[in-house]
Symmetry: D2
Subunit: 374 residues, 4 copies
Amino acid sequence: MISVILWKWRCHSYPDNPELICPKQIRIMKALVYHGPGKKSWEEKEKPVIQKATDAIVRITKTTICGTDLHILKGDVPEVTDGRTLGHEGVGIIEEAGEFVTKFKKGDHVLISCITSCAVCDYCRKGMYSHCENGGWILGHLIDGTQAEYVRIPYADTSMYKIPENSDEEALVMLSDILPTGYECGVLNSQISPGDTVAIVGAGPVGLAALLTAQFYSPSLVIMIDPDDNRLAVARKMGATHTINNRNEMAVEKVFKLTDNKGVDAVIEAVGIPATFELCQSLVAPGGRIANVGVHGKSVELHLETLWAKNIAITTRLVDTISTSMLMKTVQSGKLNSKQLITHRFKLSEIIRAYDCFEQAAKEKTLKVILSND
Amino acid sequence: MISVILWKWRCHSYPDNPELICPKQIRIMKALVYHGPGKKSWEEKEKPVIQKATDAIVRITKTTICGTDLHILKGDVPEVTDGRTLGHEGVGIIEEAGEFVTKFKKGDHVLISCITSCAVCDYCRKGMYSHCENGGWILGHLIDGTQAEYVRIPYADTSMYKIPENSDEEALVMLSDILPTGYECGVLNSQISPGDTVAIVGAGPVGLAALLTAQFYSPSLVIMIDPDDNRLAVARKMGATHTINNRNEMAVEKVFKLTDNKGVDAVIEAVGIPATFELCQSLVAPGGRIANVGVHGKSVELHLETLWAKNIAITTRLVDTISTSMLMKTVQSGKLNSKQLITHRFKLSEIIRAYDCFEQAAKEKTLKVILSND
Amino acid sequence: MISVILWKWRCHSYPDNPELICPKQIRIMKALVYHGPGKKSWEEKEKPVIQKATDAIVRITKTTICGTDLHILKGDVPEVTDGRTLGHEGVGIIEEAGEFVTKFKKGDHVLISCITSCAVCDYCRKGMYSHCENGGWILGHLIDGTQAEYVRIPYADTSMYKIPENSDEEALVMLSDILPTGYECGVLNSQISPGDTVAIVGAGPVGLAALLTAQFYSPSLVIMIDPDDNRLAVARKMGATHTINNRNEMAVEKVFKLTDNKGVDAVIEAVGIPATFELCQSLVAPGGRIANVGVHGKSVELHLETLWAKNIAITTRLVDTISTSMLMKTVQSGKLNSKQLITHRFKLSEIIRAYDCFEQAAKEKTLKVILSND
Amino acid sequence: MISVILWKWRCHSYPDNPELICPKQIRIMKALVYHGPGKKSWEEKEKPVIQKATDAIVRITKTTICGTDLHILKGDVPEVTDGRTLGHEGVGIIEEAGEFVTKFKKGDHVLISCITSCAVCDYCRKGMYSHCENGGWILGHLIDGTQAEYVRIPYADTSMYKIPENSDEEALVMLSDILPTGYECGVLNSQISPGDTVAIVGAGPVGLAALLTAQFYSPSLVIMIDPDDNRLAVARKMGATHTINNRNEMAVEKVFKLTDNKGVDAVIEAVGIPATFELCQSLVAPGGRIANVGVHGKSVELHLETLWAKNIAITTRLVDTISTSMLMKTVQSGKLNSKQLITHRFKLSEIIRAYDCFEQAAKEKTLKVILSND
């Protein structure tokens, strides 16, 4: 904010040659910057500029915090280096579009995808944008991210989506990462079809995103399993037909009781630790699918001694965000109420407080936070 | 043989009333009978009779021995009890068809499926015959099997296939189990499509069956990996484009070199031990599939710490034998030369010798043996 | 009714030997019998008996009338001969089960499928029960049907479904034919997926069944097109997002306006005349699908001169009823309210009046009628 | 040729400033130019230049003539206007690459796709390049094509493929259009799978391309139907298991005899007239697929009065060339011998003679011609 005011003031007197009189040191903005494990600050930083003609600069209007950002802050993602602006989610307004950006122009309202896609590499041509040879997950990871006043988006044409008029920005921020992740890695991969029985292990934001989008396919039963009663209550509101607190209840027994002793057709792992993956293996019915969504830090034990004859499939996936347009349509048509995932709202400048709130999720009953830069 | 002669002799004098004068004790046959771990004998046993109107009695003309039979003999399959006739593969002639058998009559030439399918349970209606509630793999397991002069086949209509005239019986014995197993569990599940790169770990009979049927889909590269040079030579004859002896060669390095450093699109595990499943995880390309075919006795380590973001699928399957008709057509039309898998031939009465030969596979260069009851 | 009372009275005196004293002429029931084009009567007829051990005799508790029954009465289905009991839908109670019926016993509550499946022919093994070599659509067509007090169901195990306790019979009668037809021929074949745009041409009972089940997949837009305002009002209540009266409105223009000038992803033809199939061809977007559900009496014009380059698919299908179990689950779980299709209720003995009501559909605002035999 | 020599000679003396001394009129080349129905000439024309930074200029080394070129010459494609260079197939060498071309550089050896794909529009993101909003089939249609010494290729990165060293250029020219057309529109759309029965109506180059690629999936039977005995002989050499000359033979009867009276699983229409589409409808088995490949000028009659209950699918498609990379791999690995389609070879400068030869296909036994610019 301050930087903008300064800029306006200073440049006001020299409108004809801003380059000359708005020297580099004042083309600054505020950003949430990582400074090694455990260290972050909301600080001034140079505003990004177009580097390639396919880039766009976006002024962030709303962003959010992801569980992955917490992992980075713990030091679990060593590719993220000191000085990196975090964040890979958000909506905003095009500030400047490179010469080869054909879909967007200054002033367009856009949704940023957490996955950057060059559109031309072999992986992009196959729809596997997560493994784009020139992009993939780079925002707030290998290049500066969206928890800032401005962000540079490479391959703008195929890494952002135009937001229709009269859209709800908050609902759409949920579509940068969490909804496509729950949907593609969880729901699509577990091949849920009408009448199926489904178990989702983990009622955090991604598990709940899977819950919301699992209902696109009209399963007959969706059982949410989590040790947090508050999150289970939220899950029931969002459409879970049954919930199991696996701190107190025998999850396997209960699931088998609910499914004529068969297990479920589709299991979605949305935690990322050996114990929950173990549970998933106990829940799957013959012919069923386990879709892993969780980010795992260790190997797990796979019980091929029993599963070899059970005709199951296990899938893994880094989200490709191939479903973003479709998800936008379902938000527009009222089939998907993604906004339900938002529990707290902050100004972007309050981002440090927002991180606290997000880290204290159980205590604060936090799911997703919205950070607004108005 | 002897029993038949005895019967003929005894009944000769009383041709009009065989029931009376051929009492039960002489309606006997020879069978390979399991007598607990390590013990088997080729001995006299009562000939099977129709128990339900959907049964058929088949006089075996040709049968074979499966790796599973060796597992049973080691005592690894505790459901198999003392007195059980082994074997779940074979072709023969219908000796008697129950009243509700509609597709077959006495004298018909048939191929027996290793999987018995009742056709009416929920699993059978879904095409998942392996999990048939009234059948599944029961021959030579829960009921007497095919390594005998006669066998009773329950649900005959949907557990056997009529053999067209002028067919090669030996080629078809390979379709009772091994070819559908390699094809369904390996090739179908790994979704091989034209131009794909494929690795098959394990060049035993099932791995080779996967190799033969992988070629149905015209992959550009099929790499066979095994520690036995003889089997690799066989694999090259059967269409492997490359072979790797993983006793001497660095399999992972070589596969990456052959695939532009990407790994393969499809990996088929046809061994069933932790080390080979570990190898498969190292070979798979992003977006690839690992199809487990091997029968595992222990759990394995699954490297979700790297695989979680690799967009892969891992499948398991007990063969359903849904592809048997199709495989028969490809044998008839010359697209599949299943007979190549046969290395040794014996009389059925020499079955003990045949087991020795099959157990000494490396020394004898055995793949599949044929046992003929002519 | 009368026949039953007679029977009870007469047999009361000779309880030990009913065969003897309840001679054939009194083992009668009432049925709706076809007597050539334009002629039907509710008349006495012999009660059906078990003919094969896989048959069951069902006492009908509820049945309904199908558009196909009207076609038969017009003489459009020449295979239906004088004396045939009509009807291929219904629920009831097992009166007697043949010796080889394994899933049902006397007293079981069952849903009858309009398609009879032998389970063992090649088509049944492929899940294409509509073309069963021993069954298919035979009820009320090639054998006596369900618009009667009793019906014989061949291949009972695989042509009926057990009704769970506390189920709503009326909701389930809709699953004998109309719901699987709308779903399989319309929704499954047009491959509707979340966010898709859909047009359904024809808001009769089958078109509405397609409308209800299209929503299993969360399309963003479902446009119902019909010349009857009442049916369009019903469609809106059942979830159509838009309706077009193609008597007054330009359907093509309106659909293109609603779809960014692209046409719809999925078009369902639920009428069966050249004009409506012509309309469908005008509505489909590049890459879209036209699923024909209507029963056609004449050939239609296919505009390959424009469609050849449009990357579309056109499908046809006689319902296989492979989805009946799934549909029962969605009714049980409240995802499908099939009962909405019922507009009128009669006693079975009032069936002639019910036919009148069904034939006067526009005037009476009839969709489906229920006939109860209590 | 002459123009190049001229250029070299003239520019030799002024090497430092070619712009100045090689004025526009001598930066010319030779091209096959359309001048309205029935008129074409091999004439001098300005060499193409980069217009957008995503373009590349390719020096053609080999090209060919397509049936579509003949259609254009007849005046059937009114979008093609006087002055247009024809041709949409070819291989060549990159002469100049625009600034935003990332995959190719001057001197690279490339295969040109008949379909230009911008990679960023909605259709391209879905893999439906045929309907690219900025490309599609434009070469030799809406912009100048490949029957010339040089051609400009828009969206070079995603409209061409790098040719591996030691490749056979002639084999690859067949992959610009004809092989992907036969494969995608015919084989992929008709969903041929192992053991299937297939009929291909039309043994012209595209029908033969379908024949070659149908064999990727190991059908048990491939019946080729055409009125030209020479083409049928070629088809037998290329793998047709049966051929029918439908001038002399009853095609329907013969196909039913070959298929146990069922018809074929997959029918490919590769002609484009009502009579052949009519034939396809008679050949398809219940549950089968008709894939239209032919370019139709008129509507056809669709027999829904019988097909409505036959559970079939009919597809149409303008080739997307999504399979080009895969086809290159199958050529490299020897699975596909695309060169068999070439019957005649000419110098590019002899193109008028080559057109004569291609137009007189029956007399000259022409399939595909190669035009070399060496």
